[in-house]
Amino acid sequence: MSSLAVLLIAIPLIAAFVSILSKKVAPYLLLIASLINVILLFYFVPDGIVVIGGYDLPYGINLFVDTFSRTGLGVVNVLFLVIVLLNIVEFKKYSSVLLVALAGLNGLLLTGDLFNLFVFLEISGIAAYLITTSNHKPLATFRYLIIGAVGSSLYLFGLIIFYGMFGTLNLMDMVSFIQANNVDPSALVLPAMLMFIGLGVEAKLLPFNSWVKGVLKDSNTLSGPMIAAVYAATISFVFGRIINNLLTLAFVGNLLIVVLVLLAVGIFIAEAMAFASTKVREILLYSSIAQASIVILLFVNGIVLWAVYLIIANALSKTVMFLVINKATKDHGDDESDSLQGVFSKNILVGITFSVATLSVMGLPLFMGFVVKLNYLTELAVGAQWALLAVILISSIIEGIYFVRMLIKLWYPEKNEVTVKFDLGFKVVFVAIALILLALGTYTAPLNTLDNSIDTIAEVIDNG
């Protein structure tokens, strides 16, 4: 039954509505709902178009389940479940919010309707604002809210202009209309850019991302991995879908150059900002900005497959990194890299997994990051994007230097020992993720066999 995909949204939603009735039941609902989602996703949800309300596209709203969204759903739901499991005891009162967030994220990944996407953007956005209130930095949350709201307004603005031009809200309908009528790309510049900036705010592209700093630099074990891994992955997937189908029609000629320059500069400056930082979480957050920019850069260049893998690799790594650092900071009270020196000397296992995650982000061999990096660089080379290649490589050097510096500080104690205790659950998660990174870095067959033409919304439509 192809409509089962809708349950991925409906179940968390109904759980959310029910959860406010009883504070005691809420955490269990959260766990059950996210667990059911994972099970559903892997065993019951078939590929295809899910029609909602019985009206075919473009009139009704529909959901796409294809390899692309399925991959995104897999990553997001599993990581979500993991992060929730680790934090459920401490952050009970966020259960309802998290349920809504889950519904919103799944909706974002699934929907094939641009306005519906806006709605889910707002749902997940507001849920994200609420998740970040757990940092107890209302001002940072406020900044996130304002900028996020402006971002989604811009998206909506662009969307409405598109509607005014083509009379439809459905992504595929709009795309096929544009292609069929050979619309002059220059007519698409304003709405495309409005959409790009709007989504760019959420995807933390430089320079639209000043919210990230405030949100992540004081994050905790819930908000850190949630925003930096789960949300980042979701938005990247969604952004990828939009870019790859719609915006790419507008990104030709000068506009393409402008966008690429914007992204390339963003990558470099983000790495430089990380290089200039001393606080561990700042380093991580700037690095994730750079990584997000690389992902979008790949999407803009049409390198979908490896962009997807990069999203996955980053989500996995960032989960470990933020969990470790936020836990350590919570116990220690400071995330200055100098004061966290030697945090791993008593936590060898955690240290190893953290290092594996870091090395993977740096793109060193044996780990998933290497395979991904190598492949997307190859694809860029095949596309003869030498300047981009150079920027990414130079940025990688900077990235490597600050990560190595950080790793060494975290491994080798200077004066006073830092004592941080990691629970068993954390350790299990770290080891599991490290093993995944290692496994995908050494045994690349799963990566290679995954559908190479992952951007197949059109195919799904053709096949019904």
């Binding site: 306005f115 709605v119 707002e122 507001i126 604002y129 609420l130 209130t133 930095k137 209302p138 001002l139 940072a140 949350t141 406020f142 900044r143 809210l145 304002i146 709201a149 402006v150 307004s153 909506l156 603005f157 409405i160 509607y163 005014g164 809200l169 405030g214």
Partner: protein
């Protein structure tokens, strides 16, 4: 033209965000953007001589010229979403006020 008035509202809202350091005023600016946007959405569906898209005993579906009903439906959603954001923003503002004792960003110091 009403359409351009909407854009002017959006732009004024942006200007408000640029020039204000007061949290409440910023929320209001955000609202102005949203209102501008909503007007813009409605304007996209406007048809000269069109009537409201409601079937009545005198208006059947193909007899008359209707304005586009879809933007109106969208605007309904957009308004509610705007309300949600505003409510949350105001709640945050209250929280911030209780923490810093002021709505002025400049008076809060650097410790975010």
């Amino acid at each position: 033209m009403i359409q351009y008035a909407a854009i002017i509202l959006i732009v004024f809202g942006l200007y408000g965000l640029l020039s204000n350091r007061n949290i409440i005023k910023m929320i209001i600016s955000l609202n102005i953007i949203e209102i501008g946007l909503n007007i813009f959405i409605i304007s996209v569906g406007f048809v000269y001589d069109g009537i409201a898209p409601i079937l009545t005993s005198t208006n059947s579906s193909s007899a008359l010229l209707y304005v586009d009903p879809l933007p109106q439906a969208l605007v309904l959603t957009a308004i509610v979403i705007g309300v949600g954001t505003t409510a949350l923003g105001l709640a945050l503002a209250k929280k911030i006020y209780s923490k810093y004792g002021t709505f002025e960003l400049d008076e809060m110091g650097d410790n975010e």
